[in-house]
Symmetry: C2
Subunit: 345 residues, 2 copies
Amino acid sequence: SRSINLAVIPGDGIGQEVVAQGLKVLNAVLPQDVKLETKEFDFGAKRYHATGETLTDADVEELKQHDAILLGAIGDPSVPSGVLERGFLLKLRFLFDHHVNLRPSKLLPGVATPLKGQPEIDFIVVREGTEGPYTGNGGSIRTGTPHEVATEVSVNTAFGVERVVRDAFARAQARPRKKLTLVHKNNVLAYAGHLWTNVFNQVAKEFPEVTTDYIHVDAATIYLVTDPGRFDVIVTDNLFGDIITDLAAAVSGGIGVAASGNINPSREFPSMFEPVHGSAPDIAGQGKADPSATVLSVGLLLRHLGYEAEAARIEEAVSADLAERGETVRSTEQIGDALAVRVAR
Amino acid sequence: SRSINLAVIPGDGIGQEVVAQGLKVLNAVLPQDVKLETKEFDFGAKRYHATGETLTDADVEELKQHDAILLGAIGDPSVPSGVLERGFLLKLRFLFDHHVNLRPSKLLPGVATPLKGQPEIDFIVVREGTEGPYTGNGGSIRTGTPHEVATEVSVNTAFGVERVVRDAFARAQARPRKKLTLVHKNNVLAYAGHLWTNVFNQVAKEFPEVTTDYIHVDAATIYLVTDPGRFDVIVTDNLFGDIITDLAAAVSGGIGVAASGNINPSREFPSMFEPVHGSAPDIAGQGKADPSATVLSVGLLLRHLGYEAEAARIEEAVSADLAERGETVRSTEQIGDALAVRVAR
Ligand SMILES: CC(C)[C@H](C(=O)O)[C@@H](O)C(=O)O
Ligand SMILES: CC(C)[C@H](C(=O)O)[C@@H](O)C(=O)O
């Protein structure tokens, strides 16, 4: 019989509320024969304040025992900027080699966008997750003096670029439009840009059916608001991916519905799925958060573990719910309940 | 009697056409007693193909003799990506220490935006122009092999950050709303982020009237499409500034009206003014390009040289022209003529 051994990290703020709904929908969608075991972890601001820990070696070992991780949100204004981001979120991405950071953008019918004319938006961003300027390679000298010099090093390897580019080509190949866009800034960041462009063009030869193009990251932000329909699959570096996926979320319905997966395709270590939004302390505990992004992240999780039909049912449920939502204001729990009913049908 | 000694670089593609209109309007707006001397330079793709040169030492010495530089656009698909960008545009920014890269965004009445509801947009971005990941510090080893490692180093100095932050505070202080936003990614790029945040907070003490806040670059792209009115002045690093100013241009009327200045406030070397748009080879020579961005760049140039009233007249002329434009399609020259008539009134 099949089983899913899931690590659950509600985290901070609205993380708690949205993860509860994500689990509710997960339970509702899974076939009877699948045994779901969950273990909750208390990472986040509270634990940091109580113990000074963000993620210990023992934690990492425990997390490794799971098939996947569902995360709500980590972060609180009471913790200095960067401590939980680097000490927990990025640490996990690096330790578990989450090199495919997958972020789909689809403007669903009935969903509001800040753009005029309800454009058709349906693309995915494959963001590299373990290299680029995110490696923490950098430093400063004469820190705090008028002569300080601070550096950040973007590290890019043929190994790291090739595997994520290959993953993106495979995803493009599997989609009807079969189009892949490389986003970088190769006219300025010439060394990294050359590596990315070169690897991209090499791998392209193995995917003759996939149409390719290249766009500078600055121009990509223009297209995302003037012609988002031009994109099918985008592959890009860690920092550019961070920036354009927030913009992509904003134009395709907002971070209330933006899901993401930090994926290790080899499954050597568990992959982690989380809404793109943060912990939103201003609305935490009020039942105001939209759990749709977390529920869609559960969908990505299921697809990663091979439950394709269940993933599709979750996407259909969220899509149908959003289409019928209109101006009705419902609580986090009410939306979760509605989605659970839909997927169970 | 007063004089302006102007270096003119039409460049490639539509650069030629729009610069002609920029000069027309400049001639029309200048008071009789100001002697305008212009010298044209042939930098760009043609010269590169003919001679292999992008910018020689002798060129640099000649350019230095001028009070300012007006640039159309540099770049052509026939030249490998990066050659003219790094060999000419960035080289000049670095040699002439153009550390204040000024990019105003104002959605003028009657101008189309991809955003719903014609939001109020009126902010300026002060982008650092001589540091960050633009310094060309980087390299690669085992280039072209499966073991390649390519790096890019973002270099940030207290000297470089402080002068641009101070410039931005002064600009914020001079505006009615007196608000300055630092955009960075200090939760991930911790060394550079710490320097920027620290310097920003220090300089803030000298400008008690200026309200300040901080936004991560990814979140900034969300605000630029959901609430652009929240911004008054933004100060940011070279790469983040590159990215968000293209997005800012897109939401505030498009690159047809986006002006920029590469400014050396000390006037030790000439500052350079240019439209944000590129050479647009697809429409070059057809009289289709909108010269408004170049004309507005001439306005920034005049303000930099102390011709405040003339700069204001240019802005009013472009604003009035855009407001009355409607659906009328006019040629590059017709728009230039109309603007020249307006500023001369
Ligand atoms: C919280 C932060 C470290 C993170 C990132 O920059 O990757 C976030 O912005 C994201 O996109 O997941
Ligand atoms: C052409 C390129 C080098 C340049 C930059 O990246 O600065 C351009 O995008 C700009 O914004 O002026």
